[in-house]
């Protein structure tokens, strides 16, 4: 049976020792009371909750799935009780503002708890994750009445949130959406339309579901500039703010999916339901986009979390499973003795730890962007967050899925049958590459919008940080091979970046063709940079570095020797340009 233990030591190593988050929190007035010790306490307890309450429901929830009975969604056995325990313990309001009942902890801590939730039970984790996305949107754009009515209940977890964007004819291109809204004359609106792929669209775990629905007002301009955002509750709050009359919202169907079976992904019908405008008319997509960075970071760590859960099972199995003989010894050996099994485990581990470091680096920049007193620091951090968001969303879910496949492979046939849970991770991890903007869309965002952002300052700044670390590592024996590998990979990335910004690959067709490979190259270099930083941190700690920290030097070396050389191949692939893709006529496919 799979088990999961939250890697709190590894998380704290990155947060405290590598990134110096304690210092950053101290500079931010909203976080003056947050020291790394309290973060450690919070992570320990969150890890315990995930391991003891949520993880045991992961396989049973997958096997049972959700059911639609008489128009009401029933979640799998144990989910409602677990959700009540989760909300009672206040986990849903971890990073929410204290003004509305949240605990006001940094995004950095939120993202680590999100990783644990995703590792323990991805289907479950989406409930509080989407609720957070919804309440953050209401907090940023809703009027005071909406905030007072909805935020405390959503932050407490009594009511959950759902984001209704996608329609049958409007997916990656939301400009095509058809749902409509008409003013009722009393300040509210009548919202009509059908939406698909709505996570947590309906369920039996909380007393109300708050839908944020994108729709068009009468006479709205065509395309994305004519979309407004509406808050439509499943039950209309009565005078006392308690759930009252049922709104005209119904579940059309439950989607039949490859994975996340315990998560009710619904077709939702808004049949002239009552809703309230959130933010300004026609500015709905912009309102949603202010949440987008945080949401995409959340989806990125879903890939990471599932990969870690798969890794933990694979590593345990590989130490215990006796098959074949070791290359240097007699007798049957545990499969972890075989170099090829090591390759799989280290590929997983070297991605997981670097991916976590990248998500934490970005989350810390988000904390600075939101709360730092110095406006210049806020601006620089904002640029880095914008640049790295698509990288995290796409790379962490792509590599996360690949890691889940490796974790399945380590177990051979036992990875393909259900008993060990490894095949579920493969199925569950797959969705994160698709939703919240497909990874192809993320790559386009990186190349087309983020590289030229602010005159190219964020990307120059980020590559400069990497160059700085490479220079710092000069003469450090333990980091020698890694320093060379990161330096070489960085040179490839710099060259390709220049070609994409204003060189021979700057045309829109070339950028589009290069984007996915470029994002992967970018991510590999970023991972290499973070391995270098982790290695340097361990070296600096010297005697104070324990065995657990010291093993990072060996994992970093693996990454340098066996993974980073892929950067060169990716640079060549990109250099081949769009001609190789467009050579075949559409009719010839």
């Amino acid at each position: 049976m799979p088990s999961y233990k939250a890697p709190v030591e590894d998380m704290m190593f990155v947060l405290k020792d590598v990134l110096g988050a304690g210092q950053v929190f101290a500079e931010i007035p909203a976080y003056v009371e947050i020291d790394t010790d309290v973060v450690g306490n919070v992570l320990e307890e969150a890890g315990r909750f995930c391991a003891e309450i949520l993880q045991p429901l992961n396989m049973s929830g997958d096997a049972e799935g959700c059911r639609l009975e008489d128009g009401v969604v029933r979640t799998p056995k144990g989910f409602a009780e677990a959700y009540a325990a989760f909300s009672d313990a206040g986990w849903g309001g971890l990073s929410a503002s204290p003004e509305h009942g949240g605990q006001g902890l940094p995004r950095t801590v939120q993202i680590l708890v999100d990783e644990m939730l995703s590792a323990a039970n991805l289907s479950f984790g989406l409930f509080p994750g989407l609720t957070r996305g919804a309440y953050e949107a209401i907090e940023a754009h809703g009027d005071e009445t909406l905030k007072a009515l909805y935020l405390p209940k959503m932050i407490a977890g009594t009511w959950t949130g759902a984001m209704a964007l996608t329609e049958g004819g409007a997916g990656s291109d939301l400009g095509l959406l058809k749902a409509t809204a008409a003013p009722r004359g009393d300040g509210s609106y009548t919202v009509t339309g059908s939406k698909i792929f709505i996570s947590s669209g309906d369920h039996d775990m909380a007393e109300n579901v708050i839908h944020l629905v994108l729709a068009r007002l009468p006479g709205a301009p065509a395309g994305t500039r004519g979309i407004s955002l509406f808050l439509c509750p499943k039950f209309l709050p009565d005078r006392d703010g308690a759930p009252g009359v049922r709104n005209a919202i119904s579940v059309g169907a439950l989607e039949h999916k490859m994975g996340i079976h315990a998560q009710p992904t619904c077709v939702m019908n808004y049949d002239g339901c009552q809703g309230w405008l959130v933010g300004e008319e026609h500015r709905g997509l912009a309102a949603m986009f202010t949440m987008m960075n945080a949401e995409r970071l959340f989806v990125g760590v879903q890939g990471l979390g599932v990969a870690d859960a798969s890794y933990q099972t694979a590593a345990t199995y590989a130490r215990e499973r006796l098959q074949g003989r070791a290359t240097d010894g007699a007798g049957t050996a545990p499969i972890i003795a075989h170099p090829d099994v090591r390759r799989m485990l280290l590929s997983m581990l070297s991605f997981i730890e670097a991916g976590r470091a990248l998500s934490l680096f970005t989350a810390l920049e988000m904390d600075k962007e939101k709360f730092h007193p110095d406006p210049e620091i806020r601006r620089v951090s904002g640029g880095l967050v914008a640049l790295l968001t698509p990288v995290i969303k796409a790379a962490l879910t792509d590599f996360g899925f690949e890691a889940a496949v490796l974790g399945q492979q380590v177990l051979g046939g036992h990875g393909y049958i259900r008993e060990w849970g490894q095949e579920q991770f493969v199925r569950d991890a797959r969705i994160a590459m698709i939703y919240e903007g497909t990874n192809g869309i993320q790559a386009q965002d990186l190349v087309v919008r983020k590289l030229p952002l602010d005159g190219g300052r964020p990307v120059r700044m980020f590559l400069g940080l990497i160059r700085e670390t490479v220079e710092q590592a000069e003469g450090v024996a333990e980091a020698a091979a890694l320093r060379v590998a990161v330096g070489e990979a960085l040179a490839h990335l710099e060259l390709v970046t220049a070609r994409l910004i204003d060189g021979d690959l700057a045309g829109s067709g070339e950028r589009n063709a290069a984007a996915t490979d470029y994002l992967r190259l970018f991510a590999l270099v970023a991972f290499g940079w973070l391995w270098l930083r982790m290695t340097l941190t361990v070296v600096t700690m010297g005697e104070n570095a324990d065995a657990h920290a010291r093993r990072k030097i060996a994992v970093g070396r693996f990454f340098a020797g066996r993974v980073l050389p892929q950067a060169g191949a990716l640079a060549r692939q990109i250099g081949a340009g769009s001609a190789a893709l467009m050579g075949l006529d559409a009719g010839d496919f």
Binding site: E9, D37, V38, N41, E45, Q103
Partner: protein, 249 residues
């Protein structure tokens, strides 16, 4: 009851794989994951339940150990304990010295009940509670699987070989907890945050005038020998012969 005193110990986490020091002097704890001793956690939980039932006014936790044991106390505070004391010392303290230190804390706090784990999962000594009761001259009930407080007396159920034994104790008393007494709660996030602001006093053994000098000598600590591979025998008589030869029968 006014005060319940709960001594708690920081131990190597039950999921961690212990490493024996190469000089055989003990377990190497550097960089290892440490946790609250599970029996102590049960004791904290029971004390909190008594308090929440209105049967006690405050729960005070005390630990004897290195500075890191503050985290163990913070966990107990996050569960709901009101105050904490750490008697800071890096070396291992033997049960008798622990009991003497606790006697001194009892003198200071004047609790009506000392509720503690029956043993710690690191050295499995199972002595501290008994020694403390003897030093104080208080009644004791060890291995409690149920605790009730009625008409000024504690009713304690103990699991013994022959079944269940029920004891009735006057206060003040010492009670040690067994595994089935309760299931400790998960800490709520707001309580974890509040725990940082609850009072945590730090002292040293010398403050309590207790001699903590070692009375026991550890000869060597070694990991258990690995399991040897078995042999297959063809007949029962061969098995009996082998057992005879090994001096087992």
């Amino acid at each position: 009851m006014k005060t319940i005193l709960v001594p708690v110990k920081m131990v190597l986490d039950s999921n961690a794989r212990p490493r024996v020091r190469t000089d055989e002097s003990g377990i190497d704890l550097s960089g290892m994951r440490m946790s609250i001793n599970p029996f102590c956690e049960i004791a904290v939980e029971e004390a909190l339940r008594l308090k929440e039932a209105g049967l006690a006014e405050e729960v005070v936790v005390v630990s004897i150990g290195p500075a890191k044991a503050q985290e163990t106390l913070r966990q107990a505070l996050a569960m709901g304990a009101d105050r904490a004391t750490l008697i800071e010392i890096d070396e291992t303290v033997e049960p008798l010295a622990v009991a003497k230190l606790l006697r001194a804390v009892v003198g200071e706090e004047q609790p009506d009940l000392v509720l503690l784990g029956k043993q710690a999962i690191d050295d499995d000594c199972n002595q501290t509670g008994q020694m403390l009761a003897a030093l104080l001259g208080w009644p004791q009930a060890t291995f409690a699987s149920a605790v009730r407080f009625e008409d000024g007396r504690l009713l304690v159920t103990r699991e013994i070989d022959a079944g269940l034994q029920r004891l009735s104790l006057p206060l003040p008393a010492v009670v040690t907890t067994d595994l089935r007494l309760n299931e400790p709660r998960h800490c709520a996030l707001p309580n974890i945050m509040k725990a940082r602001k609850k009072p945590l006093k730090i002292g040293a053994p010398a403050d309590y005038g207790v001699d903590i000098g070692r009375r026991l000598k550890i000869l060597a600590v070694r990991p258990p020998a690995g399991r040897k591979s078995g042999i297959r025998v063809a007949t029962a008589s061969e098995l009996v012969g082998d057992l005879r030869a090994a001096g087992i029968v």
